[in-house]
């Protein structure tokens, strides 16, 4: 009898253990590993092209502004030696204060945001934050969670159009924003840009929280907890030998081009 009791116990443990295991593996559809970086980059190219066709996100073609953004981007990329992404920065013409990430390492920045930044370091802080979302694959996770891998990779033109629309207004959760903030602070420090510039920029955003031009900016999607993010960014401890090296750009000249 004792032997059959023990056998029954093992059967029970096995069945329920298996249920746990199987559903753990099958109930995690937002795992970004489902989409390779190569595929993500291919999808990203299509999305960017579609977004730029929208008159609200028309590409702003100005050599000086584009090269200034590239200088900032290149400086940040120096701190990302292990990155698998080839970053592309696109400036679009819009009074909205906005920047967002499109899969495949594409970061879209509005002329409104460039005008809002008082220094190239502030723009670098925003771009570093967006790079955090890219490197941590937050956009892919979000899309996989909302749409699933089959729809995302279906290649259907209608779906691609809808996804492009979603990307321009993607918001992240508190944890993802915190991770991107921390990533940005570390990246800024490693590229000799004052990491607490992020806090300065957040404080400016907080003052303008009611500004309608900011309503689609994903960086403020955790609005009620913005104070704690400012506190976190301010309390970031740089290395003792950290020395800020300002980005060599005539910012007022760049802003005059907008």
């Amino acid at each position: 009898m004792q032997r059959t009791i023990l056998r029954d116990l093992l059967v029970l443990l096995g069945v329920f253990g298996l249920i746990w295991l199987v559903f753990s593996l099958f109930s995690y559809p937002e795992d970004p590993q489902l989409l390779s970086i190569h595929k993500e980059e291919k999808l990203g190219e299509v999305y960017v092209d579609l977004i730029l066709l929208n008159p609200m996100f028309e590409e702003f073609e100005n050599r000086q502004v584009s090269s200034a953004v590239k200088v900032i981007g290149d400086r940040l990329e120096e701190g990302l030696e292990d990155s698998e992404y080839n970053y592309r920065f696109v400036v679009f013409n819009s009074p909205m204060i906005n920047a967002f990430t499109v899969p495949g390492g594409n970061i879209l920045i509005s002329t409104g945001l460039i005008g809002f930044c008082d220094s190239p370091e502030e723009l670098a802080a925003v771009i570093a934050h967006e790079m955090g979302h890219v490197e941590e694959r937050h956009v892919v996770s979000r899309l996989l969670k909302e749409l699933g891998i089959e729809i995302l990779t279906s290649g259907d033109q209608y779906v691609i159009g809808e996804v492009s629309g979603l990307l321009t207004s993607t918001s992240f959760d508190r944890k993802q924003e915190a991770a991107a903030d921390l990533f940005a602070a570390k990246l800024l420090e490693s590229t000799s840009i004052e990491p607490r510039t992020l806090a300065t920029f957040f404080r400016k955003l907080e003052e303008e929280m009611d500004n309608e031009l900011m309503q689609h900016f994903e960086i403020i999607s955790t609005h009620p907890n913005f104070r704690s993010r400012i506190r976190e960014a301010l309390s970031f401890k740089s290395a003792k030998d950290f020395k800020a090296d300002p980005i060599d750009l005539d910012w007022e000249l760049i802003r005059a081009e907008l």
């Binding site: 009898m1 746990w20 559903f23 109930s27 995690y28 944890k175």
Partner: protein
């Protein structure tokens, strides 16, 4: 190992059958109370067992089977409550393991619920109904012949040699 003979349905009084059925229906009475704190279900089941265990082996078997099967379900439910609270308080991810656990706990509750209903109906009719593992465990516990204990409870004994 020897076991006491099992009573047949016509040998069991209706009152005893109802008490045995009550062991399974206990959980319905305590379900609402046990939702925020699953451990309350278990406390109620233990009290029921101690109150009814002197009513004979048939009642004892069913109450013990109900109690034993409730222990893992309670622990699983408590684990889920704690895991959920910790995730919210510490702002942690609801990972695949959490969702898998949730499905497993839901399945365990469903199975427990169905088996308890069947157990209650069978007990009311005076039948034995054995849950996987818990049924045999309760049967072994209640019906095993333990000479030392069974002898000691006898007040009247035959005359010595």
């Amino acid at each position: 190992m020897d076991y006491h003979p099992l009573p047949q349905p016509d040998q069991i009084e209706t009152r005893i059958k109802e008490d045995a059925m009550g062991a399974y229906f206990m959980m319905f009475a305590t379900a609402a109370m046990g939702l925020p704190l699953p451990i309350l279900n278990l406390v109620a089941a233990i009290i029921y067992y101690y109150v009814n265990r002197d009513k004979g082996k048939f009642v004892q078997f069913h109450t013990l089977q109900s109690l034993y099967s409730q222990i893992p379900v309670t622990l699983l439910n408590s684990g889920l409550v704690v895991w959920t609270i910790v995730n919210f308080v510490r702002d942690l991810d609801f990972t695949g393991f959490y969702w898998g656990y949730l499905v497993m706990v839901a399945t365990a509750n469903l199975v427990y619920f169905i088996f308890s209903i069947v157990g209650a109906v069978r007990a009311r009719k005076g039948f034995f109904y054995y849950f996987l593992f818990f049924g045999k465990l309760a049967y072994h516990q209640v019906y095993r012949i333990r000479p030392e204990r069974d002898q000691s409870t006898l007040k009247n004994r035959p005359p010595g040699p």
